[in-house]
């Protein structure tokens, strides 16, 4: 398969084929159907259905999901204390020897204002100038803990510090802050898995910084935040949507609310429905153009972090939910009534039987098939041929917030 001439188009001129392998073929992604984008082609032939109860239910659900003021305050208090301590360490590098801190940044759902109730965890990324040895991380953790105790000696709150793969976590009774350790990019290649924290996790933390910056600049509209919360909730309740990472959900929400010919943000009901429609229309299926990650170089489609199976799973779950939604099952979808079985079991809505979609993805079982498939430049095939290890690599790089928000589920 290698060394065979490519298609007759002059590909060599445009892009040298660095990688040996199947002949290069331009991958032209398919742009999936998006009803909002071609509304003019599909004028309404009948009056729009009543949306008010649906909108109200959405807003109610959002209120339920938003953390209460005391919750937010407790998280905020802890975050600001830790931030202060870390900032002090940045300012006075001599004070702490085990590591030098370059920068401290808040990331994740707390920073973005999309925190969910019951998940009072804020994330702080600590960018080390030195290499992140496990000892240094532990030392930093204890240092922060010490300082925290100094800050509020009277309260005598139980503060625990636990180190983990991504850094350490400071938790008090009602809130916890994850300090995600990473290092400056030049150090990343010096990492030794024996001594240091995992490089992929480091990279994901760096990505988290970029994500929160992007979010700050682009996704401040409250519809987006509400939608993010609703979709996260959806993801938590419906197992089929689990593969969606927080970052994908954020991008999808942004896309659903803002990406509109008129550039006017959609109302929350329209945006929610649109998210499901987009997912159903295969926005995150192989071959689709998907959503390009704004925080990665080149064009990285965010959904490629999901395995093909997961892409299928997300898609068919969304398809089932969309059908349920259109038959009036919004309460069940929002979790106000019923349970998550609507996505997996047959249900009846006003006499209409909704059969849940089933998976379409099949593993390529034979090598011969693979050979056949190799031909195509589509990424699904490329992914199939690339080893599991590589794939996990990609995945963890593009799964920045798996650490960050992992336990939101």
């Amino acid at each position: 398969m290698r060394g065979r001439g490519g298609p007759p188009m002059g590909r060599g001129m445009m892009r040298p084929n660095f990688r040996p392998g199947p002949p290069f073929r331009a991958f032209i992604p398919h742009i999936p159907f998006d009803l909002v984008q071609c509304e003019s082609t599909f004028p309404r032939a009948k009056s729009a259905p009543e949306e008010k109860p649906f909108t109200e239910a959405l807003l109610k659900r959002n209120v339920d999901l938003t953390p209460s003021a005391p919750e937010q305050a407790s998280v905020l208090a802890l975050v600001s204390k830790i931030q202060t301590i870390l900032d002090n360490l940045v300012v006075t590098p001599g004070a702490f020897e085990a590591a030098q801190i370059e920068e401290v940044r808040q990331v994740g759902s707390f920073k973005k204002g999309t925190m969910m109730t019951g998940h009072n965890v804020a994330d702080i990324v600590v960018l080390l100038k030195t290499l992140p040895t496990k000892e240094a991380v532990a030392a930093l953790g204890s240092k922060v803990q010490e300082e925290l105790k100094l800050l509020e000696p009277i309260e005598g709150k139980v503060l625990t510090m636990l180190t983990n793969d991504s850094g350490f976590e400071m938790s008090s009774a009602e809130a916890s802050v994850k300090c995600l350790i990473t290092t400056i990019p030049p150090n990343l290649k010096k990492l030794d898995p024996e001594l240091h924290l995992d490089g992929k996790i480091m990279q994901s933390h760096l990505a988290a910084i970029r994500h929160s910056r992007w979010f700050e600049e682009n996704a401040q509209h409250s519809s987006i935040k509400v939608l993010i919360r609703l979709l996260k909730d959806l993801r938590n309740r419906f197992e089929g949507l689990q593969p969606l990472t927080p970052w994908i959900i954020e991008l999808l929400s942004h896309f659903a609310v803002v990406n509109h010919p008129s550039r006017q943000p959609l109302a929350i009901n329209g945006a929610f429905r649109r998210s499901l429609q987009l997912l159903s229309a295969g926005l995150f299926l192989p071959g689709s153009v998907g959503i390009a990650d704004p925080c990665e170089q080149g064009t990285v489609r965010v959904h490629v972090v999901m395995t093909l199976e997961q892409q299928d799973q997300v898609c068919f779950t969304a398809q089932t939910l969309l059908r349920v939604l259109s038959h009036g099952g919004f309460k069940q979808i929002l979790g106000l009534e019923g349970n998550a079985s609507i996505a997996t079991e047959m249900s009846v809505w006003e006499g209409v039987v909704v059969t849940p979609s089933d998976k379409a993805y099949e593993k390529i079982e034979k090598k011969e098939d693979e050979e056949e498939m190799e031909e195509d430049a589509d990424e699904s095939v490329r992914r199939k041929t690339c080893s599991v290890k590589q794939y996990q690599n990609i995945q963890s790089i593009c799964h920045p917030e798996t650490q960050e928000d992992a336990d939101e589920s």
């Binding site: 001594l195 987009l278 038959h327 006499g351």
Partner: protein, 939 residues
């Protein structure tokens, strides 16, 4: 050869240089002679100085140009003539300067004089070796651009008669650092002579020791000054003096400084004990050690000056013992560390110096200085003050200032190093909890001594590990080992190569850009020219547009994807066969002609004014059998009952599929069609059919359908349904129903059927206007028609709404959708709930009122359709489009490769069919078997 090569650069020269060309030729033999015969310089001696200088230079040029003009060898007179030789030199130089730069030319001519003066000075001494090395250096100096400037100063120096000094003076021409080092030594030497600050240097130990030697030895204590030991008695003392150890030491002391230097660098020596330590800590340990204390005690006893007891003296000791590179050979490498390219050239000169002076100090100073410039200044040490003072421009000056301050404490660079990475030292405790040893996790080493721990933390190895594993910003002094230096050199060279590469690349790019602009202009002009004079530009004739294709170039054609191939293959499979098309064509044209005659007959019988009747004008595009006929009516022709016949449905739209043999025609009547009219037509039609064709047709009336069905008796048995309708029917619908209903004849045909026929007419028109021209649209509609026929779920989707849907999807999907993409988009569209109850529905453009083309579907149908499309979409996305299309997966096309799976392929088309089809049926909930089979076999 010389003539051949030379003119090229010479042409680029100003006239003066050009005129000098013959002189150059004259000079070449000299260089040839020189290059081939080394003894020549010895001969040239007599005719020295100018002549020799020329040869020398010519040689240089030769190496540069790499041309040895043996042809002009027979012109020896020029060689011995000083004057032409000089000009030759200029010419050669000028020539050379094309490579470098112009301005230095005059400088060089003067330099020639200086050179001639200087050359012989160094020449005579060691002729054989010297010549070669010196010439080497010369070749280099010509090549190095900065050399020229310093050259003048170096060479114009008339006082440089002393070979050693001239030697040192050559040096700055190559490298300021070397120069400064060498001359600093020189000056320092002078200064040393005058002031005697020898203590700073290694050989200085000798004078230092000389001093203690000075006082008469105490007889009681038999002390060996050389070995720094005391002997119990005269006997042992004598024995000691005779001993090998002592002799060795003595010899070492008397000999040059070389033996003192150990393999390493940065060593600290305890003069008192003559112990060399590798680091400050080791040194400190030594000072604390018992052995040293013993010696100190001894010395105190002896009343000798003890450097070690006194803290100030410690520094002196340390300072004096700092010794860096290893004699001559290391000079080269030391210089190399500073500037790799200089290495060769300086070798000789430094060697000269060394030989003349015959002292290792030069190497010492030069080595240190250079190493300092090469490596970071941080580790400068023990550079003697005079050196720093003499060279203000020297890079190490700042550090030497530091040194002045720190000198007494900071003997080696390591001294100021703070221990790092405490936290990686693990204490290993025994059962009692007593620390028994330490374990450094970074370096993976163990040690028992707390002192050793400190030392380890400061040590280079640990620091390197720390730098590598913890803090990359930690400064660790570069170990100036030869190996490390080589690595560094390599790195530098690679870097410079890389830079060079990028510079060249950049230049190329720039050039390319310029070229592109020119080219664009060129083609722009040509285009204009073509347009003006030739109307159409034979661009193809003018050759390719060059590698830097201007403009967007040809549109990148979307490569045919696997989906496209499957869709196309499926399309080919469902496309009607030639026979079928022929049969349909025959029956349609027969019916049309028969209908026209029927119309005539009816009009004849009805119409009172036959002359006025007529005229149905059929505009039939003869080439396209599927073209709808357009009926034009003359205003006078209102009486005629049958006004025209039109093709509708799949026939008109060109959507015939394989197996589709039923086509539709619509006859427009001037009035509401009645049962009577239908009967009359049906009676008349067979007769007319017989007149227009020999084929046998069966005519069947079907009143409830408002149609006559004509079926051919010939093989594929195509049939043609002729529906009667009238525009009046629709008007009746919209305008006042009462008046119309009053007029209605009693046996009027079914209104809905008639309206449907009218709608079919409009749809056909709409289709031709909108869908036919749309790429992929017709293909996809055919594919979906097939799907609708095969799959029960899809059969609910009416033909018309399906067409509408496809057209909307394809037209909104951007230009040039490929069939595969278009099909996927349809599924996406349905998947996203367009036909679901909450969706917008399908607006029918062919109705006056807003109509939902999907209105007839029940919610359950919508649900099922959507679910099916959603599944189909995912099948398409996961490369199982063949399941959707009910066909075998296609093998990859093109790039024929060795097909090891041939048997499998065969199995597929043969027996594999059953299983495949089975799977597909499950998929699509019982697809229509016949169609699938047909598809599979045709494939």
């Amino acid at each position: 050869m010389a003539h051949f090569v030379y003119p090229v650069p010479a042409n680029a020269q100003p006239g003066t240089a050009y005129s000098a060309q013959p002189a150059y030729v004259a000079a070449t033999p000299a260089q040839a002679a020189y290059g081939t015969a080394t003894p020549r310089p010895g001969q040239a001696y007599e005719s020295y100085p100018a002549a020799h200088a020329t040869t020398q230079y010519a040689y240089t040029t030769r190496t540069q140009v790499a041309v040895t003009p043996a042809v002009s060898y027979d012109q020896p007179k020029a060689y011995y003539q000083p004057a032409p030789a000089a000009t030759a030199y200029t010419a050669a130089e000028a020539h050379y300067q094309t490579v470098d730069f112009y301005t230095a030319k005059p400088v060089f001519t003067t330099g020639a004089a200086g050179f001639t003066a200087q050359r012989p000075a160094s020449q005579p001494k060691p002729p054989a070796v010297q010549v070669t090395t010196a010439s080497q250096s010369y070749a280099y100096s010509a090549a190095s651009t900065p050399a020229v400037n310093t050259y003048t100063s170096a060479y114009n120096n008339p006082t440089t008669t002393q070979s050693s000094i001239s030697g040192t003076n050559i040096v700055p021409g190559y490298d300021a650092a070397v120069y400064s080092a060498a001359s600093s030594y020189y000056q320092q030497q002078q200064a040393a002579k005058a002031i005697g600050t020898w203590a700073a240097k290694k050989p200085g130990t000798q004078p230092f020791k000389a001093k203690p030697k000075g006082p008469p030895k105490t007889p009681q204590l038999h002390y060996c000054d050389v070995c720094k030991i005391s002997c119990a008695g005269p006997q042992t003392y004598r024995e000691h003096l005779e001993g090998q150890k002592h002799k060795k030491k003595e010899a070492a002391m008397k000999g040059a400084a070389t033996p003192v230097v150990r393999g390493g660098h940065n060593q600290l020596r305890c003069e008192l004990c003559d112990v060399t330590c590798t680091g400050a800590d080791a040194y400190a340990a030594h000072i604390r050690g018992a052995k040293h204390q013993k010696v100190v005690k001894l010395h105190t006893k002896l009343g000798k000056p003890i450097p070690s007891t006194d803290p100030v003296l410690v520094t002196t000791t340390g300072n004096s013992t700092v010794s860096v590179p290893k004699a001559t050979s290391s000079t080269i490498s030391a210089v190399g560390a500073g500037n790799k390219t200089v290495a060769k050239s300086t070798t000789s000169s430094v060697n000269i110096v060394k030989k003349v002076v015959a002292t290792p100090k030069i190497t010492f100073v030069g080595g240190t200085t250079l190493r300092t410039t090469g490596a970071k200044t941080e580790e400068v040490k023990a550079a003697p003050e005079p050196a720093a003072a003499a060279k203000p421009a020297e890079p190490m000056q700042t550090s030497s200032d530091d040194l002045k301050d720190d000198e007494h404490l900071n003997i080696l660079g390591e001294k100021d190093v703070a221990p790092v990475g405490h936290e990686y030292i693990e204490e290993v405790r025994n059962e009692q909890g007593k620390t028994v040893s330490f374990n450094c996790k970074l370096c993976e080493c163990k040690f028992n001594d707390p002192n050793a721990k400190e030392m380890h933390l400061k040590g280079r190895r640990h620091r390197l590990q720390y730098k590598k594993k913890v803090d990359p910003n930690l400064q660790v002094e570069v170990k100036p080992s030869i190996r490390a230096r080589k690595v560094q050199e390599d790195k530098l060279r690679r870097q410079s190569q890389k830079e060079d590469f990028w510079r060249r690349r950049e230049q190329e790019d720039r050039w390319r850009d310029e070229m592109r602009m020119e080219e664009e202009m060129y083609w722009e002009q040509h285009r204009r020219y073509d347009m003006e004079y030739m109307h159409r530009g034979p661009m193809g004739m003018m050759g390719p547009r060059g590698p830097f294709g201007a403009g967007p170039g040809p549109m990148i054609r979307k490569p045919e994807s696997s989906d496209d191939r499957h869709v196309n293959a499926k399309h080919a499979a469902i496309y009607p066969t030639e026979v079928e098309l022929q049969a349909v064509q025959t029956i349609v044209s027969a019916c049309e002609r028969a209908l026209k005659q029927t119309s005539d007959v009816l009009a004849d019988s009805d119409g009172p004014k036959p002359e006025e009747k007529k005229e149905i004008k059929k505009e039939e595009a003869t080439t396209d059998a599927k073209q709808t006929e357009k009926v034009k009516e003359e205003p006078a022709n209102t009486n005629r009952v049958l006004k025209g016949v039109m093709r509708v449905g799949v026939l008109a739209k060109g959507l015939l599929l394989h197996g589709d043999l039923n086509v539709n025609l619509v006859v427009l009547c001037s009035e509401k069609p009645t049962r009577t009219l239908l009967e009359r037509m049906a009676d008349s039609l067979p007769k007319q059919l017989a007149t227009v064709t020999e084929d046998k047709y069966e005519v069947k009336r079907c009143v409830e359908e408002a149609a006559i069905i004509v079926t051919a008796e010939k093989e594929p048995n195509p049939s043609c349904t002729i529906t009667l309708t009238s525009p009046v029917m629709r008007e009746a619908n919209t305008t006042e129903g009462e008046t119309v209903s009053v007029k209605d004849p009693p046996d009027v045909l079914d209104r809905q059927k008639c309206l449907a026929a009218l709608a079919a007419l409009r749809h056909a028109k709409w289709f031709q206007a909108r869908a036919t021209g749309l790429p992929s649209c017709v293909i996809v509609i055919r594919i979906l028609r097939d799907l609708c026929q095969r799959v029960p779920t899809w059969s609910h989707l009416s033909q018309w709404s399906m067409e509408l849907l496809v057209e909307k999807c394809v037209s909104s999907g951007g230009p040039n959708m490929s069939p595969g993409d278009a099909l996927r988009r349809i599924f996406e569209c349905i998947s996203s709930g367009i036909i679901l109850p909450g969706g917008p529905g399908l607006y029918d453009p062919c109705e006056k009122d807003p109509t939902n083309a999907l209105a007839s579907l029940t919610n359950q149908m919508r649900e099922d359709l959507t679910a099916s499309a959603q599944h189909a979409l995912r099948l398409v996305a996961f490369r199982q489009i063949h399941k959707v299309l009910a066909m075998d997966p296609l093998p990859p096309p093109r790039f024929p490769r060795q097909r090891f799976n041939n048997p499998r392929k065969r199995r597929h088309t043969g027996s594999g069919e059953g299983t495949e089809e089975g799977a597909e049926k499950k998929e699509k909930k019982e697809g229509e078997e016949a169609t699938t089979e047909a598809a599979a076999t045709t494939k």
